[in-house]
Subunit: 76 residues, 2 copies
Amino acid sequence: MAKVKVHVFLKNGVLDVQGKAVEGALKGLGWNVENARVGKLIEFDFDGADPAGEAKKMCETLLANTVIESYRIEVA
Amino acid sequence: MAKVKVHVFLKNGVLDVQGKAVEGALKGLGWNVENARVGKLIEFDFDGADPAGEAKKMCETLLANTVIESYRIEVA
């Protein structure tokens, strides 16, 4: 059983409205924050061979919208 | 300028409907996946003293709903 973490985030150049909102709110509260980006972190236990390769397939088919999103996979 | 990563996730015991949906969908596609959880990963550059302490304050005031969510802070 492998612990898999998948980080899905908008590609550079795609406007991250959630990130902009967070940045604006933090600035409004007095913090000097730049380049805020909000992504998703999906964690699960995977039972099977080649967790990294299977996680890549999961991202391509379901977890990420590869038109606008990138992903990073960590297997522990 | 410190790079700060904040991982916000639902506390254990709080039903994670997004995680359940991901788990069900991956199972439906033939992957043997358990305990899927979906969280948020907020990344930003912070200019100021004590980034870890300030990030903790940001979480308490804005980034996390501490009634149902926990957070983990990484400063690089």
